[in-house]
Amino acid sequence: MMPRSLQLISHMNPLTYQVDALRIILLPQFPANQQFGLPMDFLVLAGALVVLVAISARLYPHIAQ
């Protein structure tokens, strides 16, 4: 239904996993057509957090230069 390129980009966007997780948690009827499942959402978001914290910790002194 969605062009393949858009689908790839959306799979790299953490917001996609965030929205999917929130829908699964909040809507009682949603889990039937969930996109990734709660464990996958959590893993992707946690992994993204680790990577981004590592990069920003590396870059932090930049702001003072």
Partner: protein, 238 residues
């Protein structure tokens, strides 16, 4: 002079277990992170205006967009009212917006000389970043409460039991932390407020537009699958 006891024995017998050392390091890291996060929360208590102004946008989306789309019955989503389907999306969007502008605070801190003081301290850089990320998480939680309250007032049937609340808190804080760290990266690279506002706005708009594009396609998928299932057909106004 009295003989002093040695701090370190020559054959290393007094070294604690590696796991205990690791645990102590982790707890030290956690306490430093919480100290930074506490600083962020205090700033918020001083001036909570930003929370109110940033809450307007999701409220408007829910009220206007949600009402219009659900009246128009343009998109049907597997038997759920459109407003129900929209509310978690609006929540995620408000978390994104609150977190992506969180990074501008370090530009202010650089101008005030606070960043230099923190960098000179023995605090690990990752603790500084995680503290800011957790501060962003707290702000996002406030926004989430506003959006949920409005959703419930509009009659959206969201789950309110304890597991749902815990899951909501976990994912809101996690998502806000991800986008806060991202915004810190942007702030460290662009260094001025003007450039930061431009880049931050673009990044969040791209993320949201992309999400909406996929969301509309999801609705097509959902409506398609709902039409093929042997239960209630899509509601047709008439």
């Amino acid at each position: 002079m009295r003989p002093q006891p040695l701090d370190v024995q020559p054959n290393g017998l007094d070294k604690p277990l590696a796991s205990i050392t690791a645990l102590r390091a982790l707890m030290a890291f956690a306490s430093k992170t919480l100290a930074i996060a506490d600083m962020e929360v205090r700033k918020l208590r001083h001036d909570p205006t930003e929370l109110a102004t940033r809450a307007i946008q999701p409220v408007l989306w829910l009220l206007i967009f949600g009402q219009v789309m659900s009246r128009g019955h343009a998109i049907d989503t597997a038997g759920m009212p459109y407003l129900d389907f929209l509310t978690p999306g609006i929540l995620a969007q408000s978390v994104l917006f609150i977190a992506i502008f969180n990074g501008i605070s370090i530009i202010w801190e650089r101008d005030l000389g606070i960043v230099h003081k923190f960098l000179a301290s023995p605090t690990p850089r990752a603790a500084l970043v995680m503290g800011k990320a957790l501060g962003g998480g707290v702000r996002a939680l406030v926004q989430a409460v506003v959006v949920m309250a409005l959703g419930l007032a509009l009659g959206v049937s969201v789950r309110c039991d304890a597991t749902a609340i815990v899951g909501l808190i976990v994912f809101v804080v996690l998502g806000a932390a991800v986008f806060s760290s991202f915004s810190l990266i942007i702030a460290c690279l662009v260094k001025t407020r003007e450039r930061f506002m431009g880049v931050g706005q673009t990044a969040s708009d791209h993320a949201v537009v992309l999400r909406k594009q996929c969301h509309l396609s999801d609705d097509d998928d959902a409506a398609f699958s709902a039409a093929h299932l042997p239960h209630e057909p899509p509601h047709v106004p008439g």
